[in-house]
């Protein structure tokens, strides 16, 4: 598995439970117990998901040894989102220009025939 930040973000987001956890944390910080509440899984399983999200930089944990509340960190998502947008823009503009190029080619061919 690739280790670049973008791949880590996408890999962390590939799991539906982790996305649900992020949606919850996007509304405000929460403890592991609070995060686990809506899910039918063990605290241990939820902790594992939180660790994966933390490794991808999508959440941070507080230092309070007892509660360690989880915070949503939007930066990696912004990077992923902006990468997708930029990539889409590049291809769209590339094809716009190919269209112009084909037009010029047709124009030149016409001229040659005249």
């Amino acid at each position: 598995m690739a280790n670049d930040p973008l791949s880590q973000t996408f890999a962390a987001l590939a799991d539906p439970t982790r996305r649900a956890i992020l949606v919850r944390l996007a509304q405000g910080q929460a403890t592991v117990n609070e995060v686990a509440e809506p899910f039918e899984m063990s605290l241990q399983a939820v902790s594992k998901h939180l660790k994966a999200l933390e490794a991808a930089g999508l959440i941070s944990r507080g230092h309070d040894a007892q509660y360690r509340p989880c915070h949503f960190e939007p930066a990696p998502l912004e990077a992923a989102s902006s990468w997708i947008t930029t990539n889409q823009r590049v291809w769209t503009e590339r094809f716009d220009q190919l269209e112009q190029h084909l037009k010029r080619m047709r124009h030149d061919q016409k001229k040659e025939k005249e």
Binding site: L6, V23, A80, N87, Q88, W91, T92, L98, Q100, L102
Partner: protein
């Protein structure tokens, strides 16, 4: 004409129709002398000397886009997976987002026009689980809406 839709998070499909036959469009997309005229997006250029096309599976497909203002260079290092003119070609870029594959299919519309369907899978590892794919778009839309409020 175009119809852009982010099909899944990290995937992209762009459908376009060009006023030329598949042979011509395919040639434009795979010939350096043509590519130099349109490959770089607005604000960049793609000098001919930076373009390498080895038209066969396993061959190199490389370009260097140069920012017109700053001179910054954006190299692309691809390797052809398929090369089947004028029907389709695909290439992988090992150094982008953990390995990205782009495939372009050229459909003959029979009236002198060509429909191209460009499909990119950016993040192969997230495609390993089918259930991981389901609902990705929905949550991405949600996150996008959230990010817009920041």
């Amino acid at each position: 004409m175009m119809n852009d839709a982010p099909t899944e998070l990290g995937e992209l499909t762009i459908t376009r129709i060009f006023e030329a036959r598949p042979k011509v469009v395919f040639e434009c997309m795979t010939t350096p002398a043509h590519l130099t005229h349109f490959w770089g997006p607005v604000g960049t250029s793609t000098p001919l000397e930076g373009i390498t096309v080895e038209p066969r599976p396993g061959g190199r497909f490389e370009t260097v886009m140069v920012n017109d203002e700053t001179g910054d260079k954006y190299p692309m290092r691809g390797v052809f997976v398929e090369f089947d003119p004028p029907r389709t070609f695909s290439f992988t870029e090992a150094d982008v987002a953990g390995g990205m594959t782009t495939s372009i299919v050229f459909n003959d519309l029979g009236d002198g026009r060509t429909e191209t369907v460009t499909h990119q899978t950016n993040v192969p590892q997230m495609l390993m689980s089918p259930e991981a794919q389901a609902g990705l778009e929905t949550s991405f839309v949600k996150f996008d809406a959230y990010l817009a409020t920041l």
